[in-house]
């Protein structure tokens, strides 16, 4: 491998697959997982809000659909993460230890608890719903006991889901930001960025699924606030990298104008944030018949953000 910089010609005899000439160890599996993890975090927090504010009836999607989707979507994300493991048979090793300095270890335990609490609320909501197979699942052994437990502790579980949702959302960002060797990721702002983006995709998904007009418009308004917040955090993150050291500046140039520039500006900034913000503002002013275009774009933007970050972050090191 040869690399030419301003003053020197640097040659290395190393050519390890996925390491040289640039790191590429994480493919589509990781951004898909980060997207679904953030989305589920958003769904859990919004569901907890509906339960804790005692507005289940006014917020039918947030209280009736979100909990049913949470655990299966999380399972889908974990499935993607599992595919990324090079030694899949050793997956149980995550649960024979707790490594306090490793965000991935924190994450695997958080995910286990999220599965329990989100699964309980999801099951209890599902068996009461008119979803396919619900009446059969209700008759399975133990289900009635689990349902009764979830109903008895509905508020406690909602608080747990809110706290765990925030942890899950932040963790998807910290997972990347913990690597000092990857300057593009090495910013604490990635935690709040991924949390807000996850909430935003959760609200967008609710707007797409809700059949209740008031709930849908409420979620779209909430999403507008979240998108503006996400845009601000994104801007602060970029500024902190531009004004950082040589490595930080070089890494952010990858997404501002380098090989990832086109994808970042079109999919993340314009399609994922700018356009939906514009459409929502126009809808609020009555100049646009609020449709489902904006929330669909938000989902595309959320997924693109994670793809661009995961791919670009590996491209450059210290």
């Amino acid at each position: 491998m040869m690399h030419i910089d301003q003053y020197a010609e640097i040659t290395s005899t190393r050519a390890n697959p996925h390491i040289d000439p640039t790191l590429h160890i994480w493919g589509w599996e990781v951004p898909i997982y980060l997207f679904l993890g953030g989305l589920v975090a958003g769904l859990l927090i919004l569901n907890a809000f509906a339960v804790l504010s005692r507005r289940e009836k006014e917020l039918p999607a947030m209280s009736g659909i979100f909990p049913i989707l949470s655990a299966p979507l999380l399972a889908l994300g974990l499935g993607a993460l599992f595919l990324d493991l090079e030694h899949k048979l050793h997956v149980f090793r995550f649960y024979t230890t707790f490594q306090v300095t490793s965000p991935m270890s924190w994450g695997s335990w958080i995910l286990l608890v999220v599965f329990a609490t989100a699964g309980l609320v999801g099951l209890s909501t599902y068996v009461k719903s008119s979803w396919p197979m619900a009446i059969y699942v209700k008759r399975l052994p133990l289900v009635d006991k689990l349902e009764a437990f979830a109903d008895r502790h509905a508020r406690g579980l909602a608080i747990a889901n809110a706290v765990l949702g925030v942890s899950l959302g932040i963790y998807t960002g910290i997972l990347l930001s913990n690597f000092a060797a990857r300057p593009l990721w090495n910013s604490g702002l990635l935690g709040p960025l991924f949390l807000i983006s996850g909430l935003s995709t959760g609200a967008a998904m609710g707007a797409l699924l809700s059949r209740d007009r008031d709930e849908r418009e409420g979620l779209l308004r909430l999403d507008l606030v979240l998108m503006v917040t996400e845009g601000l955090i994104l801007g602060l993150w970029i500024i902190s990298l531009i004004s950082g050291g040589e490595a930080a500046r070089a890494s952010v140039e990858l997404i501002l104008g380098g090989p990832f520039g086109a994808v970042f500006w079109t999919l993340v900034v314009v399609i994922g944030l700018g356009l939906p913000i514009l459409l929502e503002v126009m809808a609020m002013k009555g100049r646009w018949r609020g449709t489902l275009v904006a929330p669909a774009l938000v989902l595309v933007g959320g997924l693109s953000l994670r793809f661009v970050l995961v791919y670009a972050g590996q491209y450059i090191g210290y």
Binding site: Y7, A8, E9, I10, T11, S12, T13, R14, A15, N16, P17, H18, I19, D20, L23, I25, W26, D84, L85, E86, H87, K88, H90, V91, R93, F94, T96, T97, Q99, T101, S102, P103, M104, S105, G107, S108, N178, F179, A180, A181, R182, G245, A247, Q314, G317, Y318
Partner: protein
């Protein structure tokens, strides 16, 4: 956060002596069954200017066996660890899930994915160090450019060379406190 160890083994490579012959790379491959197409060691060459006006730096490079190893702190299972007796950075392959957090965390790109699915790297020939031997790369080097030893022992050869020679270290900004010294 620096894990405790009884000794602190490190490596110095004399850039004045190293000719970039790659004998160490081959010796390492032979000693440690490094899989085809992968390297635990490699040779770096930095050339400035054009012939005849040029300078060149050549050295044999590997895992820096850091005092503050991010590969160990980022490992979710404890597979990546600091070897108690020598302070070298090692992988328990039977505990490794191949999540690659350690690979992402290493600023030196010193780790690779073994075809059998675990993460592999330079062990500083810990199996040889434990029986009081030197590393395969040090043993084979025709110009004696490689020095391996305990940095906590003031009488070791490596302690002596880093006291008496000018040296530089790679990517100190990444905060890993490498135990790898390039003698100038």
């Amino acid at each position: 956060m620096t894990p405790k160890s009884d000794r602190r083994f490190g490596m110095a490579v004399d850039m004045v002596a190293c000719v970039g012959c790659s004998a160490c790379v081959i010796a390492c491959r032979d000693e440690n069954d490094v899989p085809e197409g992968h390297s635990r060691r490699w040779v770096m060459e930095v050339v400035r200017g054009r012939f005849p006006e040029l300078t060149a730096e050549v050295w044999s490079d590997c895992c820096q066996h850091c005092d503050n190893p991010p590969c160990v702190t980022s490992c979710p299972t404890g597979a990546s660890h600091v070897h108690k007796a020598t302070g070298t950075t090692q992988v328990h392959k039977e505990m490794c899930t191949g999540c690659k957090a350690c690979v992402a965390s290493c600023p030196y790109g010193a780790r690779y994915i073994h075809p059998k699915g675990y993460i592999d790297k330079c062990t500083l020939c810990v199996h040889r160090l434990e029986r009081g031997d030197n590393t395969a790369c040090e043993a084979v080097c025709p110009t004696s450019a490689i020095v391996v030893g305990d940095l906590d022992d003031p009488n070791s050869e490596i302690s002596r060379v880093i006291r008496t020679r000018r040296f530089k270290q790679q990517k100190l900004d990444a905060g890993t406190k490498p135990r790898f010294f390039l003698l100038q």
